[in-house]
Symmetry: C2
């Protein structure tokens, strides 16, 4: 599809599209970033507002149980991951969003470690990277294998991070 | 590209391609499955031959440190994940490979839990799903954010699963 065709479908003059976006690659990149931001807005918001890591984990559990996996945002996320592999500009933008999520979760973990609700012998940054990567990895695996019980993995994570054994 | 063009580039008669593959979709599916099997052959072999979960985790650590991420197999894996979202036949085949990996890892975990090297209060199937999803999730995140230290996440995982605190 050309930018001219995109403009026609959007019902705007071609000039409006070519003025706002420096070519089709830039338009697609901005769409991918907007889609990724939308897909990650939920998790980032949850991490920012959460009282602790367990709340983040519970929210993950609820999200996987809700069956929102058919959302087009998920398909866009996978498409973005693939596309980012060959577009350094897109990759940088997406990396910043994921890094922000990781930073929010790491802050929660450090707070939890001080208050004693998360075990303190584990590296907070490493655990935050686990939480972020597990979210996307489980998402990918559930899409591939609808029979996979993501909830069981998340419950296991909750057991692993707990301060008490 | 047509099956005729594929046959020409492979230097075989068109009949050989159309005889072996029921159309281009089937050819692409089999290529995706072969690629996914090749990409997962390493991890599955490691899980099968490993003495325990810690060995699997150490192998993950070594793999991420080796910088083999630029391998075209990784790009194919992401492409396959995306493609599987809209092709139930491909999805079923890929799901079987991932499920096999999960089963191998779950067996290792159960053995480790009996011998006391992995904490026994965590669900073995849930933990195996974590290990498998974390592998692909970290892979995706490292591709998106080359600054991410996957090693730190894997070291944190090793701390989390250990029987001793």
């Amino acid at each position: 599809m050309t930018t001219r065709e995109i403009a026609r479908r959007a019902g705007v003059p071609h000039g409006a599209v070519s003025y706002h976006f420096a070519g089709k690659a830039e338009l697609l990149r901005q769409a991918a970033v907007a889609g990724t931001e939308a897909a990650l807005a939920g998790p980032v918001e949850i991490a920012r507002g959460a009282g602790g890591l367990v709340e983040v984990v519970e929210a993950m559990l609820a999200w996987f149980a809700s069956g929102e996996l058919d959302d087009p945002a998920v398909a866009l996320l996978l498409e973005t991951a693939r596309q980012a592999g060959r577009d350094p500009g897109l990759r940088e933008l997406v990396a910043a969003i994921i890094a922000q999520y990781r930073a929010e979760v790491a802050e929660l973990i450090k707070r939890d470690q001080r208050s004693g609700t998360v075990r303190s012998d584990v590296d907070a940054e490493g655990l935050a990277a686990i939480v972020a990567a597990l979210f996307d990895g489980l998402l990918m695996h559930v899409i591939l294998d609808p029979g996979l019980d993501a909830g069981r993995a998340i419950v296991a994570l909750r057991t692993l991070v707990g301060a008490k054994r």
